[in-house]
């Protein structure tokens, strides 16, 4: 029957505390991005488009919104008969008390029973907070071709930034021979994307051992991968080329949004053969008023623009009043900027009102300003 016998597990437990107030109420994977998406739409749509039917989402911190959001698997077409998105928070078990996940590997260990239900041959481990498009079916084909025990997706980063990443050193045939976490003197510029394919039988065995190891951090990068190397297992590096972004900070989240304004942006959300699916919110089409001025912008349905928008991204339901100016900024869903207000180099959080005539952000700030509280009008 289905040949793509691979189940995906998305690690979506990150608190994303460097996103400050944006993650006060939602987990990082549920943060809004690109006008109408949430970050987790990317790994989930990638799974759907890669023909993966069963996806487990490992959540932890304050995840009521994330849980409800991903549970509606139909958004990604993942609700056919033998398909589903399953939210997997820590559970109480017959032989173990309720406890948080101790690390990325522990999150999988605690859900061995879930995975066993589907008896997959391969398990794909993903992070829930990266923005990219990848065909995991191709990565699996490479994994099989390489006869690997595990395959890790890697991306070339500028050599000078390599010491910020987990770096994979490979031999001439694409086998990983060494893994260094944030090396001071990197030997290669192949950074791990935190995307792994494992043969399930092997991983299962390793996790059972790892669970009992008191010295382990129960982490893929720190424990499982080094152990595989120590055991002389075949680890393949799958080179990815294309857009990939970890939006860990307000600046990088803003930047990732700004990337969409380029006429030939690498992410290309308009590609009909690899759509990114998301929640479908009933909304009017965009209303562009008689006095509006729009220049380099990414605007979605439900927006009403009566003022000026320049070099900015407007999320669902954002409203820009007459005479208002939005420059180099991101307006998250439901933001309302009243008449004559000015927003510049700012990221305005969901549902925030900027009163008429108010000015937020500034053209020459080093960092992007996050506006997360109502701003009163000045008129």
């Amino acid at each position: 029957m289905k040949q793509n016998n691979m189940l995906a597990m998305i690690l979506a437990g990150g608190r994303g505390s460097r996103l400050h107030e944006l993650t006060n109420k939602v987990a990082k994977p549920a943060v809004s991005y690109g006008g109408k998406y949430r970050i987790v739409d990317f790994p989930l749509s990638n799974c759907a488009n890669s023909g993966i039917d069963i996806v487990g989402v490992l959540t932890q911190y304050e995840s009521v919104l994330l849980n409800s959001y991903v549970a509606a698997g139909g958004r990604w077409g993942l609700d056919a008969r033998e398909s589903g998105v399953f939210v997997l928070p820590p559970r109480e078990k017959a032989d173990a008390d309720l406890d948080v996940y101790r690390g990325t590997a522990d999150a999988i260990s605690q859900n061995i029973d879930f995975i066993d239900n589907y008896a997959p041959e391969y398990v794909l481990i993903l992070s829930g907070d990266h923005i990219y498009k990848m065909n995991y079916a191709k990565m699996l084909a490479y994994h099989k071709e390489m006869n690997a025990d595990a395959t890790i997706a890697v991306i070339e980063v500028p050599m000078k930034e390599a010491s910020r990443f987990g770096i994979m050193n490979t031999d001439g045939e694409g086998h990983i021979v060494e893994f260094e976490e944030k090396p001071e003197h990197p030997k290669s510029n192949l950074a791990s994307m935190g995307i792994y394919i494992f043969n399930w039988k092997l991983l299962r065995k390793m996790l059972l051992t790892d669970m009992k190891n008191a010295d382990s951090h129960h982490d893929f990068g720190k424990d499982i991968i080094p152990q595989l190397l120590a055991d002389n297992r075949t680890l393949a590096a799958y080179k990815y080329q294309g857009y990939w972004k970890d939006v860990g900070t307000i600046d990088s989240l803003w930047e990732a949004n700004m990337d969409l304004l380029d006429s030939n942006n690498e992410l290309d959300l308009n590609d009909p053969t690899w759509k990114i699916y998301t929640e479908d919110i009933p909304a009017l089409p965009q209303y562009i008023g008689p006095d509006a001025k729009i220049n380099r912008a990414f605007i979605t349905q439900g927006c009403i623009v009566e003022g000026e928008v320049k070099n900015s991204v407007l999320f669902t339901g954002a409203k820009v009043g007459k005479g208002a100016k939005i420059i180099d900024s991101v307006l998250m869903p439901g933001v309302e900027v009243e008449e004559n207000a000015v927003v510049q180099r700012a990221l305005v959080a969901e549902d925030i009102h900027i009163g008429s005539g108010a000015c937020v952000g500034s053209a020459d700030s080093e960092h992007i300003e996050l506006i997360f509280k109502r701003v009163k009008g000045v008129e």
Binding site: P285, P290, Q301
Partner: protein, 371 residues
């Protein structure tokens, strides 16, 4: 969980929308960029807690069948509820046989098998918002046999010429239903919307059949005005009737005005549609867009004014689009100037530099056409 099931009728054979109708029934017409006309009656029903809806289709069913799916996107529970697509055979012998009544007769067991005691019948060529649950309660409380919905207009001389009108007495009793001949300004336009008991509906179908194979539902109701207690209820808010090409164009244009639009769209009464998973629209450096309604997935580099732009359209550099209704996936190439046009899906305007019709007489560009 309402006490009624819904019927969305296929539009009568007297309604002709040149061009667009060659490819799909009016129910499947694109409307205001992201909707189809049928989204309005179905959303009205779904919002009114009607979860069994029969949609009648006579011809060109493909796009409508695909758009409707199982009705999940209209918030209809697919187990308890049912969005049922029923087909009326299109007789090619003589169009006069293709009445609404013929369609109901062909599917009469499907009507008889429904367990709700009331039926609400709505047209698939009119755009309005209405709470059928409240109307049903009004109908039941009034004790009337049939309740008809109407909209009072003051432009019946020049508009709504293909619609029926209700002649009402002081008590809102319906004295007759007749064609609007454009002879008076103020008229009560019949919104082709009926509320009655299912049993009475079935009775009327059989009665009509006995009278003549050409008789329609409004005609048999009109013929019953003296025997039955038939009442009119006035509708307020936005109302448009798509009965010809001009009225289709005008209805779209009228909703570019946000004030009109808010008269139809209400966050408490969502109009659902099927998503296409398009990404947001990208406006480039030279885009100049004013007073327009734009759908997602577009790439806009040119000038757009006073227009409705469908999903996935491209308006290239130097192009000028004025007073147009552009349907999904069309391309207006560099430096092309289009004005007062309805441009059907997948059209590409590339070679012709100027396609301009005079105001009040919009032109039509065919689907998949390359100009």
């Amino acid at each position: 969980m309402a006490n009624a099931f819904g019927i969305i009728a296929s539009s009568g054979t007297h309604i002709k929308v040149e061009g667009l109708l060659d490819y799909r029934p009016i129910a499947a017409f694109s409307f205001l960029g992201r909707y189809r006309v049928i989204d309005f009656p179905i959303s009205n029903m779904s919002n009114s807690d009607i979860d069994h809806i029969q949609v009648y289709i006579r011809r060109k069913p493909r796009s409508l069948v695909e758009h409707l799916g199982t009705g999940r996107h209209y918030n209809i529970n697919s187990k308890k509820g049912r969005l049922q697509i029923l087909f009326a055979q299109n007789s090619s012998e003589n169009d006069v046989y293709n009445t609404d009544i013929a369609g109901y007769l062909e599917n009469i067991e499907m009507i008889e098998r429904v367990h709700q005691p009331y039926v609400i019948i709505a047209p698939s060529y009119m755009v309005y918002a209405a709470n059928y649950d409240t109307l049903l309660q009004t109908h039941i409380d009034s004790g009337a046999d049939i309740t008809l919905l109407y909209h009072s207009v003051d432009n019946a001389k020049e508009a709504f010429l293909n619609c029926d009108i209700l002649n009402l007495n002081k008590q809102k009793g319906v004295e007759s239903i007749e064609k609007n001949r454009g002879s008076a300004k103020n008229r009560n336009i019949f919104m082709d919307t009926y509320i009655m008991k299912k049993d009475l509906f079935v009775e009327l179908i059989h009665k009509a059949k006995k009278m003549s194979s050409m008789i329609t539902l409004p005609q048999i109701v009109n013929a019953s005005c003296s025997e039955l207690d038939i009442r009119g209820v006035a509708h307020r808010g936005y109302f448009a009737s798509i009965t010809d090409f001009k009225s289709y164009f005008d209805a779209n244009m009228s909703l570019i005005d946000l004030k009109n639009s808010l008269n139809l769209f209400n966050p408490e009464w969502p109009i659902y549609t099927r998503t296409n998973d398009s990404c947001p629209t990208q406006y480039f450096d030279n885009a100049d867009v004013k007073n327009s309604v734009v759908s997602n997935g577009c790439l806009i580099e040119g000038t757009v004014e006073n227009s409705v732009i469908g999903r996935g359209c491209q308006i290239k550099k130097g192009a000028v689009v004025k007073n147009c209704v552009i349907l999904a996936n069309s391309i207006i190439d560099e430096d092309v100037h289009v004005e007062n046009q309805v441009i059907d899906k997948w059209a590409q305007i590339t070679r012709e530099r100027e396609i301009v019709a005079e105001a009040g007489h919009p032109g039509y560009i065919r689907r998949d056409d390359i100009l």
